[in-house]
Symmetry: C2
Subunit: 146 residues, 2 copies
DNA sequence: TTCCTGTTTAGAATTATTCTAAATCCATGT
DNA sequence: ACATGGATTTAGAATAATTCTAAACAGGAA
């Protein structure tokens, strides 16, 4: 009944609802993303997945990631021109990219932050996505937020 | 005494102050970025620059852009995984990426917006960059903001 | 002029990602 | 059970933005 178990169960339903199959590859990729929420890259996910499913290919990891993103189960995080990272946190949140360590931290936002930011748009602009990213240095262990 | 003339004059000073030379290539790349503030990519800049300086190379355009960014004369704008764009607007501002047209619009922000966003960071986080980007659709001519 | 260093240039290299086409899987209909 | 067809996986090739390399070039100082 931890977040991983619950969300893994949700995976099959979500995929089936989208007319897609809950394949072992999709399940293991999703599980790996839930297990260590450190915003891994496709390559990092590939390495982690291979330890459980040594025959999986990198192309399949990319395919699975695209599927999970399209189903809304995983968020895609692009910072600068670095390799794309993947995030299972579906709450509205920002990202903090630590220059020094390269780590990416989730920054939880007050409930109305994104709504307020949308209001800054001039009339005629309609945003379906708002992305907020910080870059700088984080204290060595900023009270456990990865 | 328009913004282009003023900033072009500033270029030589800014470069010299950084111990760099105000070369013709750097000047024409900067001029092109000021002339049409539509957040062009390196390739688009290359094409525009070649019409004035046909012998310039793409590598030089990249080199000049890196120099201009490092001197703080131009902002680098990364949206999704699209090619990097370049922006001469040095005010604090956000970007709106129009899915339909591919255009990028500047969104001017109230004076304290970025400061307020910084306050959302937990203690221990110190951001030297805050990036805010919207994606969606803009009205065909949102009162002239490119 | 000669020297020194920064700059430009063409082309090769890198690398994240996407594409291609062939195998494999699997739900469904017979 | 078996056959069929579409979805999925896979290896490897291809793509494309950017960076790197190494050789020419430029221009100020000695
Ligand atoms: Mn997509
Ligand atoms: Mn840089
Ligand atoms: Zn996240
Ligand atoms: Zn801008």
């Amino acid at each position: 009944m931890n977040s991983t178990a619950k969300s893994c169960a949700a995976l099959a339903k979500q995929l089936t609802d989208s007319g897609l199959r809950p394949t072992p590859q999709r399940e293991v990729v999703f599980k790996v993303i839930l297990e260590k929420r450190d915003h891994p890259t496709a390559d990092e996910i590939y390495v982690r997945v291979k330890s459980q499913m040594p025959t999986i290919s990198l192309a399949t990891v990319y395919n699975c990631l695209e599927t999970l993103v399209h189903c809304g189960l995983v968020r895609q995080v692009n910072l600068e021109r670095a390799p794309t990272r993947y995030c299972p946190n579906l709450h509205e949140h920002a990202h903090f990219h630590d220059d020094t360590t390269g780590q990416v931290h989730d920054i939880e936002l007050p409930a109305d932050t994104i709504k307020e930011l949308r209001k800054l748009l001039p009339i005629g602009f309609d945003a379906n996505t708002v992305e907020l990213a910080f870059r700088g240095r984080a204290a060595s262990d900023p009270h456990g937020s990865n």
